[in-house]
């Protein structure tokens, strides 16, 4: 019913073109309303907006394309300062109405390291200096360099302050914002050249090789303010699709762009949408997989925290393409900030009519509902995710039928990953050729990786497909810290494998990673160094899959457990050589007979480590040694008599009194009593204790 009345209104409005002009004029009064509150705080953002709309006095909240352009023109001035710091700097700054803009990262990484305290002090200081009207404070999403949090950038200079402490805020405000002198000693070290000059962030090693498409708005806009998203071309793609294109055009563009699913499988997105469009159904659904369960991966979270509207926009485009009017975002409950920002984003989009009925005065209606995951890794698998949205145990279903034919509630469904969606508005706006121009022959575009583990620059990187692992590790990542040697990169989490140091020059794309026995996965990349035992890493992943196996099919439920038992046997020194063959056979059976991808790929961490690091497995089963010194049962601690000064620190700290010796004489460890806790080694100041 609602739908019908809205359509009538719609037709009426189209007939009366004068209306549009009136609404633009009305919009001008709205401008004043909104810009009066210069600093839009998280919650305040919406309320002010709501206030502005009621003042406009329109019953329907339908937004026209002209109004969208209006918002863009108004907000662009403010946001562009953060993007183009070039020759137009002065004009841009003047047009923006703010002398300076301070961007503080509000992603999970920086929140954990205390950005909230920084923000509070910053607001106080700004108030103290009466700069509230001259300086705009923006809480953004993730900048990527999570290891250096909390992070703060001041524009127009683009000064990048890292590891900011609340204590140093007064100095920054006083010196930089009041007196205009950059506080060099608090800047990110890599941005300060030897001669004392400051270079732009994009010239540092971490950012230089990156190409930001999915993450284009992360760390640039305020994710809790829809207008800042619109300022950078947000919702323009949706407007273009709804007013100028047919569903088939959209599918063609996606096919031509060569975009493939970023969730791990790499299925061409255009084809997926085409299947869903072709299937018959009175009701269809669009779903977004934001259940990023892969341990050590946080790309999707950062996109949701930094740019939630890009996902919403792309889902609406998907809805129009396949003929769906309802979307679901299934997001992990462990990501409270992402959930909060999604809620705000959906509310704002509804408020100004970018979600709801008759979007952009067309017949297209679309709404999105948020569903929280409850901590089950298997729900990252598409059929399990759909079962979970339906309110059941998240167990996968056999495929076919694929979700595009029979998905959520038995209806045709398109399910894509967050990163896939966030690429789509850009592809529509900039054309498929632009997207296809990046990457390798079969893998187009860029990929976001969450770089973690034993690497200097822990954080989020987006690189064009085809970048080599060496570039990621050595240039962007800044190498392995502590002078240790790079041993392997683990990609794809519990479904992937390890790329050893000998393959460091391989260009990264879907095909290459699969041929190396790993997979793209959702994009977690954990760097391992000499101090990591590969058998132990394989065991870690198996422990995870044992825990997360849903129990529906036998090869996965029992196979993972048996595999884990073998690995436990090996790491505790009871392994035999034959076990390695048995492991390989078991892996093969699991691969070929498991119901879903979880079971089919659960053996990958074992197989790939067994392939590349077989000597390490052999050292465990034959020599009963752990070369990396990780597996406790294969270790023994010894005191080097020539280094030991007899200070008794180790003996005092030993929990089992296993160390004996007289003062100022070398001590000895009683191996029978030793529980290998490693306390003595940590406490020894003379490096006289070694583990073998």
């Amino acid at each position: 019913m609602k739908y019908l009345t809205n359509t009538k209104k719609n037709i009426r409005r189209r007939r009366n073109k004068a209306n549009a002009i009136i609404s633009v004029q009305k919009n001008k009064t709205l401008q004043i309303d909104i810009s009066a509150g210069k600093y839009l705080d998280s919650g305040a953002g919406i309320t002010e907006f709501a206030g502005g709309l009621t003042k406009r006095g329109r019953k329907s909240n339908m937004l026209t394309v002209a109004e969208l352009a209006n918002i863009k023109a108004r907000m662009e001035k403010i946001v562009l300062v953060r993007k183009e710091v070039g020759e137009h700097e002065k004009e841009l700054v003047k047009a923006s109405g703010y002398r300076a803009q301070v961007l503080v990262c509000g992603g999970t990484g920086c929140t954990s390291s205390g950005c909230q305290a920084v923000l509070t002090v910053l607001k106080q200081e700004i108030k103290k200096h009466n700069l509230e009207n001259d300086i705009r404070i923006v809480k953004t999403g993730c900048f990527g360099l999570c290891a250096l949090g909390p992070i703060m950038i001041v524009y127009p200079e683009g000064s990048f302050y890292s590891a900011v402490k609340p204590e140093s805020i007064p100095e920054i405000v006083e010196e930089h914002l009041v007196n205009g002198r950059v506080v060099k000693h608090l800047l990110y070290k890599k941005t300060v050249c030897e001669d004392g000059s400051v270079k732009s962030l994009n010239e540092t090693d971490f950012y230089r090789k990156q190409l930001r498409v999915s993450l284009r708005n992360c760390g640039v806009i305020d994710p809790e303010n829809i207008e800042e998203y619109i300022a950078l071309g947000g919702y323009e793609a949706l407007a273009k699709v709804l007013t100028e294109m047919t569903p088939d055009d959209v599918i063609k563009i996606l096919k031509d762009s060569g975009l493939r699913g970023r969730g791990g499988g790499g299925f061409p997105t255009g084809m997926k949408w085409e299947f869903a469009k072709r299937s018959e159904g009175d009701q269809k659904y669009v779903c977004c997989n934001a259940d990023e369960g892969d341990p050590g991966a946080f790309m999707d979270r950062s996109i949701l925290e930094g740019d939630p509207h890009s996902v919403i926009e792309a889902m609406a485009i998907a809805g129009y393409t396949i003929g769906a009017n309802q979307g679901y975002i299934y997001v992990r409950a462990e990501y409270p900030i992402a959930v909060e920002r999604l809620k705000i984003a959906i509310a704002q989009a509804r408020k100004i009519g970018l979600l709801g009925n008759n979007i952009f005065e067309t017949d297209f209606c679309f709404d999105i509902e948020l569903r929280l995951g409850a901590g089950a890794f298997v729900c990252g698998e598409e059929t399990a995710l759909l079962t979970s949205i339906e309110g059941h145990r998240g167990e996968p279903r056999p495929r076919p039928p694929f979700p595009a034919i029979k998905g959520l509630f038995g209806k045709p469904t398109v399910l894509n990953n967050v990163e896939t969606y966030s690429n789509i508005p850009q592809i529509i706006l900039r054309g498929p050729e632009w997207f296809a121009g990046m990457g390798t022959e079969k893998s187009k575009g860029t990929k976001v990786f969450a770089l973690g583990g034993k690497i200097t620059n822990v954080g989020l990187v987006e690189i064009p497909m085809g970048t080599t692992l060496r570039e990621i590790v050595e240039e962007i990542g800044g190498g392995v810290p502590g002078g240790k040697k790079f041993k392997a990169a683990q990609t794809g989490g519990p479904s992937g494998g390890c790329i050893p140091a000998c393959h460091i020059d391989v260009p990264i794309d879907y095909e290459n990673l699969t041929s190396l026995g790993s997979m793209m996965g959702s994009g977690g990349m954990i760097i391992l160094d000499e101090g990591n035992c590969m058998v132990d890493i394989a065991k870690f992943f198996l422990e995870f899959t044992v825990d997360e196996s849903c129990g529906k099919c036998t090869p996965c439920r029992i196979g993972t457990r048996r595999l884990y038992q073998y690995l436990e046997k090996i790491t505790s020194g009871k392994g035999e050589y034959e076990d390695l063959e048995k492991i390989e056979e078991l892996c093969m059976h699991m691969k070929s007979t498991s119901l879903c991808a979880l079971g089919q790929t659960a053996s990958n961490p074992v197989l790939s480590t067994l392939h590349y690091f077989r000597d390490e497995y052999i050292a465990h089963v034959v020599d009963k040694k752990c070369p990396a010194g990780v597996c406790k049962d294969l270790l023994s601690y010894e005191i080097l008599p020539d280094k030991c000064k007899g200070c008794t620190v180790c003996a005092k700290n030993c929990p089992t009194n296993a160390i004996s010796g007289e003062l100022k004489n070398p001590h000895v460890i009683d191996k029978k009593k030793c529980i290998k806790c490693g306390m003595c080694m940590r406490k020894c100041k003379f490096e006289a204790i070694v583990k073998k």
């Binding site: 290891a147 949090g149 341990p295 946080f298 989490g493």
Partner: protein, 220 residues
């Protein structure tokens, strides 16, 4: 009626009544029986067997019940309402005892077995009450390769409880969680909403003492 659990074999326990053995049941089933039918009494536990956790009597208030009813009412007509209802119910009660599950089953007109099935499937739902301060150690890969297991070990050693358990005084409970996303700070431990990054085992005492101190002053 008495239930006698003995001879733990893996996760299975044999189920006795008097001298007669009825067969083997799964530990969670046994736990379910104990909670559901208060008449069952656990009679004999042999040494080295699993410690049957003391069953905390359900202490739901009228206010909580009204809230729960309101939640159920709000979601009743949605497709796939069970998960959001369980999530919100857990926020109200802190955990999902069988009494709450029963109310949800009745409210949503679902079999209790289905509610129980969903509640035990997802790791977010807990059938046991949590401690005053919930400690969670991130066991994501990034934290693991930087030694999160040692932090967890240090915690279980200091508190004398395992993962998923609660200290007898109800002050702390330990969980190992999946990636919390603060990989830049690995290894990470969370107590309630406070994040402790770049943890070492040595820091644990100081941090735990802080919470114990807080608890003591609160008690006084």
């Amino acid at each position: 009626m008495s239930l006698d659990l003995s001879e733990k074999r893996g996760e299975w326990v044999s189920f006795f009544q008097g001298e007669k053995c009825f067969g083997m049941i799964n530990f969670s089933q046994a736990y379910f029986l104990v909670v559901k039918f208060r008449g069952f009494v656990l009679k004999r536990m042999e040494e080295k067997e699993m410690k049957v956790k003391p069953v905390m009597p359900f202490k739901g208030t009228k206010m909580q019940e009204t809230k729960l009813m309101e939640i159920i009412h709000r979601h009743q007509d949605e497709p796939g309402a069970l998960m959001p209802v369980l999530q919100e119910a857990q926020e109200v009660y802190g955990y999902l005892p069988i009494e709450v599950q029963t109310m949800i089953a009745e409210g949503l007109n679902l079999p209790l077995s289905e509610v129980y099935g969903v509640a035990t499937f997802y790791s977010q739902f807990s059938l046991n009450p949590k401690g005053e301060h919930r400690i969670s150690v991130c066991m994501g890969t990034a934290c693991y390769v930087k030694g999160a297991d040692k932090i967890l070990e240090g915690l279980t050693e200091r508190l004398g409880i395992g993962v998923g358990e609660c200290t007898p005084d109800g002050l702390f409970s330990i969980d190992s969680t999946r990636c919390v996303g603060a990989c830049g700070l690995a290894p990470v431990m969370m107590i309630d909403d406070d994040v402790y990054g770049r943890m070492t085992v040595e820091q644990l005492d100081e941090i735990l003492d802080k919470y114990k101190e807080k608890y003591k002053t609160k008690k006084k």
